[in-house]
Structure formats: structure tokens, C-alpha cells
């Protein structure tokens, strides 16, 4: 038996967009154990609810993470709206759906780029990010911000997005679809790429269920579960498929994310077609009193928002269960027994968002 050695991985590592530290216990080139430690970007945002007005808290919720910004703002607003019994207008629901899918697209395209970077395909990485820029431009034109939108508010949206602007998005989406097809073909069919993805980090459907995974990671192992099917916002009026893959490895997860971008485009097209006219904001009176738990599908998986209010303008408690938090156990599981060279790919495969996890 060869001797063991421990290699620190992170918090600063070229493949990591955010700081997470892993102690990799190696036996020759094989990882036998991986011990994660987090806590580098904890900001205590959850406890801010006791000091910030419940309406101002929307801005804080949006800033939990830069990439899932819209998802966090939406989760918070949805929970508070349920407590206050506010019925958001139909148009606001549709606009929220469109913005949510746009942000899902930019998150997934970002992930594809990071994955390309992790297996060393620089050209593909830059090309995906070039395409992502178009999504960001659409978001900036619609909301005024590239990643932090500040358009959500309790009761609806702070600003309407005119119909002609939404219609103007459709040709851009067509462009993106066309350009992305080349990249997706490379991700899914290229021999060199496949040799890095296939059979890496295999977890069966039963294992991912037992580890409590969520999001594309779960669907990449063939479990058909997507919180969007719960029908919040306007998702129950819109027809879309849950993308799954039975490959159960990193290739399957890439397949799911790549095809989810195309599903998002499909959702946006339907929403733009069906969107009704009307107001986007409902007047909000009084303070929330009660508690609620909201479940929603963020780009990285299912997030849970728990909000407890006590009838004053400050909330009592907010708790966010973020998707990366649920996927970290699966990460340590997949790392056991893998080659050292595959570690970056496996870390990126869960789409780690450490800012979300630590808040």
C-alpha cells in the first residue's frame, strides 16, 4: 500500500469562481477522501432581516449571489407575498417568468464556459461567454442592470417591460440558439470533450436521491424532478419539458444543462406570446405577519425560502436553503476514488455557488 498525502485544493484555485477549500487525501494519483470546508465569504445576510425594512430586504436578498440574483429576489418576494396574501398580477407573473428564464440562461451558459475552462478548452470557454454577453445585454436593456436587476419588489415589479422590447428579444434568442448549437454540439459530440466527461463522477439515481441532491445534478442522473412544475409565477400556463439524462455522470449533467438553455428559450418564446396587458404592481399595505416556506427552481437547483414575520416592518427570521448546499455531499461522494486530474471537473459539475451557500 502506498502512503497517503494531503493536497489542499482552494480556496484560491484557477477553476474556482468562488472560494471553497477541499482537503484531498491522495493515494498515488487517486483521491481517497475529500474534506470540504467553507466559510470564506460568510456575510451574515440572513440576520440582516432584523435590521432592514422588509421592502429594503429585497435588495439584500438579490445580493446573496450575483449569478442567481433574480432567483433569490424572487424567492424572498414570493414568500413575503404569500404571508401578506398579495395576489401578483398576471403580467407581473409572466415578466418574472421571462426574467427568471433569462437569468437561468445566463447562469447555464456561464457554467458551460466554466466547464470548458475546467477541461482546458479555452476557445470553447470564450465562445460560450461571448454568447452569454447577449443574454446580459437583454437583461440590461430590460431591467437596467447586468447581474443585479433591482426590478423585483414585494407586490410585483418596479418597472414594466414594454411589449415591443419583449418582441425585440425574440430575434436575439434565435441568434443565440443558432450560435449555441455549435457549442452544444462540441460539448456533447466532440471526442476529446467526451473523453474528459464520460464516466467521471458516476452517481446512480438512487445515490443522488439518498444524498439529497437537486437541480441539474439530480436530473443528470435520471431523476425527473423540477420545482418549476409546481406552477409558481406563470410556469403552469407554459409547456416545457424536464430535461433528464440517464448517463449519471458529468456528461449527463452537461447534457441536462445544455438542453435546459434551449428549454428556457422555449419558455421565453411562449411567455412573450401569451403575456397579457395590465399593471405590474399591486399596492402593498401594512406589515407581514405569519410564516411561509417557498420552493423554487433556481438555475443550480431547488432553493427553499423560509420567512417568518411578526407584524412589524422588520421580519423575525429568514432562512435560505440554497442548491449548492444540498449538492456538496454529492461532491465529496463523487470525489472519492477519482483521479486528481478530474477534481476540477467534478467540482465544477455541481455548479458550486459558495456565496449562496454561506450567505
Amino acid at each position: 500500500m502506498s502512503s497517503r498525502s494531503v493536497i489542499p485544493f482552494g480556496p484560491q484555485h484557477p477553476v474556482l469562481p468562488e472560494p471553497i477549500h477541499l482537503d484531498l487525501v491522495l493515494e498515488d494519483e487517486k483521491v481517497v477522501e475529500a474534506v470540504p470546508s467553507i466559510g470564506f465569504v460568510h456575510r451574515g445576510l440572513e440576520s440582516l432581516v432584523t435590521k432592514k425594512d422588509f421592502k429594503e430586504m429585497v435588495y439584500v436578498a438579490e445580493r446573496i449571489c450575483g449569478i442567481c440574483s433574480f432567483g433569490h429576489g424572487f424567492g424572498y418576494c414570493d414568500a413575503v407575498e404569500h404571508i401578506m396574501d398579495i395576489q401578483v398580477t398576471e403580467r407581473a407573473n409572466y415578466l418574472r417568468t421571462i426574467l427568471f428564464e433569462l437569468s437561468r440562461m445566463h447562469s447555464h451558459i456561464l457554467w458551460l464556459g466554466l466547464m470548458a475552462d475546467a477541461f482546458g478548452f479555452e476557445n470553447l470557454f470564450m465562445d460560450t461567454w461571448r454568447i452569454r454577453e447577449k443574454v446580459l445585454d437583454m437583461l440590461e436593456a430590460a431591467t437596467g442592470g447586468r447581474v443585479i436587476f433591482s426590478i423585483l419588489d414585494v407586490g410585483g415589479l418596479r418597472k414594466d417591460i414594454p411589449d415591443d422590447m419583449l418582441k425585440g428579444f425574440l430575434p436575439v434568442l434565435k441568434d443565440i440558439e443558432k450560435e449555441l448549437a455549435v457549442d452544444i454540439r462540441t460539448f456533447l459530440n466532440d471526442g476529446a470533450v467526451k473523453s474528459r466527461l464520460c464516466g467521471v463522477g458516476v452517481l446512480s439515481a438512487e445515490e443522488v436521491e439518498n444524498l439529497g441532491c437537486c437541480g441539474p445534478f439530480l436530473r443528470g442522473s435520471g431523476v425527473k424532478r423540477d420545482s418549476r412544475k409546481l406552477g409558481y409565477a406563470a410556469y403552469d400556463d407554459i409547456d416545457f419539458d424536464i430535461v433528464t439524462s440517464t448517463d449519471c455522470d458529468t456528461y449527463g449533467r452537461t447534457y441536462v444543462r445544455a438542453n435546459e438553455i434551449l428549454q428556457s428559450i422555449r419558455i421565453i418564446r411562449q411567455a412573450v406570446e401569451k403575456i397579457p396587458a395590465g399593471e405590474v404592481m399591486v399596492p402593498v399595505k401594512g406589515f407581514p405577519n405569519g410564516e411561509h416556506m417557498t420552493r423554487l427552481e433556481q438555475p443550480r437547483g431547488e432553493a427553499c425560502y423560509y420567512v417568518k414575520a411578526n407584524g412589524t416592518k422588520f421580519l423575525e427570521r429568514m432562512r435560505v436553503r440554497t442548491p449548492t448546499f444540498a449538492n456538496i455531499p454529492a461532491l465529496t461522494q463523487t470525489l472519492q476514488g477519482c483521479e486528481l486530474a478530474d477534481v476540477p471537473i467534478l467540482v465544477v459539475a455541481i455548479d458550486p455557488c459558495i456565496s449562496c451557500t454561506e450567505r
Binding site: 429594503e56 435588495y59 476557445n123 461571448r130 440590461e140 433591482s150 455549435v182 459530440n189
Partner: protein
């Protein structure tokens, strides 16, 4: 399964124009809604302080005594809350991003002279109106008191007259 899948795109990238713009020589065009930084038109501002109340980060300070409006641009999160809540519409969102700096500065704006005069005239008019209202109130109160006293007197005599009947 081919390993040359991406060659077409790679060749295209080699011979096409760069996707990025040549930044300092070619300034970026922002869409209409871009939130860059907050500007205040001091010709219209009335120093009501609503923006200060609504700012989630407390970046805005309104000093009514000194007649200044100040913003700490490095604390501002460009949420547009102040602009949306401004009753005089003197606050606006400029599309250009805030310039970077070495220190966290505070930008102070003095009220323009014409606005200062206008506000002073307004305050004077308001004070006069308040004084007039106060005088009127006092006169009314006095009249009411007198009337009440008279009524009480009359009531006393009436009560005295009616009392034996019961």
C-alpha cells in the same frame, strides 16, 4: 464522434472581428434603462429628504440647515429607489457608471442660488400663512369661548327656571 467538431467555429473566430469593443477608443453605448449613477438637479431640489429616507444603504445625506444634498457614491447600490421616490423629479439616473476612485468620497451638492431664493420665499410664505392661520385659530377659539360662556350663562338661568318643574 469526431475530434474536429469545433474547427469551423475556430477558423471563423480567427478571421472575424473581435467580439469585444475597443474600449477606451470606442465608448460603450448603454441601453436606456442602465443604472449608472445618481445625479441631482439642484435647481429643482427642495431638500425634502425622501430620498434619504428611502435609500436602503443610507448613502444620501440631506442637510436642510446647510442646504446641501450629498451622496456617497461608493455606498450607492444603484437601486433607483431614490429616483423613483423623488416628488420633484430632480433626481435622475445617469447611464455612465460611477468613476473608480482611491478613496470613498462623498459628493456634495449646494442648492443653486435661484432655488435657495425660491425656497426662502416659500418658507417665508409658509411662515406667514402659518402665522395667519394661528391668528385666525386664536380668534376663532376666543369667539367660541365667549359663545360657550354666554351659552353657559343662559343655560344656568334656563336650568334654574326649569329645575322646579321636575
Amino acid at each position: 464522434m469526431s475530434t474536429v467538431n469545433y474547427v469551423g467555429q475556430a477558423l471563423k473566430n480567427l478571421f472575424s472581428k473581435p467580439a469585444t469593443c475597443k474600449y477606451p477608443f470606442e465608448p460603450r453605448e448603454f441601453p436606456e434603462r442602465t443604472r449608472g449613477h445618481v445625479e441631482n438637479d439642484m435647481d429643482k431640489c427642495v431638500l425634502c429628504g425622501l430620498c434619504q429616507m428611502r435609500c436602503p444603504t443610507g448613502a444620501i445625506t440631506v442637510d436642510k440647515k446647510e442646504q446641501t444634498w450629498a451622496i456617497r457614491p461608493f455606498s450607492c447600490i444603484q437601486c433607483r429607489s431614490c429616483v423613483d421616490n423623488c416628488p420633484k423629479k430632480c433626481l435622475s439616473m445617469d447611464r455612465q457608471y460611477q468613476e473608480p476612485g482611491e478613496r470613498k468620497i462623498e459628493k456634495k451638492f449646494d442648492l443653486s442660488d435661484s432655488q435657495k431664493e425660491a425656497l426662502a420665499a416659500q418658507a417665508k410664505a409658509a411662515a406667514e400663512k402659518a402665522a395667519a392661520a394661528k391668528a385666525a385659530m386664536e380668534a376663532k377659539k376666543k369667539a367660541e369661548e365667549e359663545a360657550a360662556a354666554k351659552a353657559a350663562e343662559a343655560g344656568d338661568t334656563a336650568g334654574a327656571a326649569e329645575a322646579p318643574k321636575e
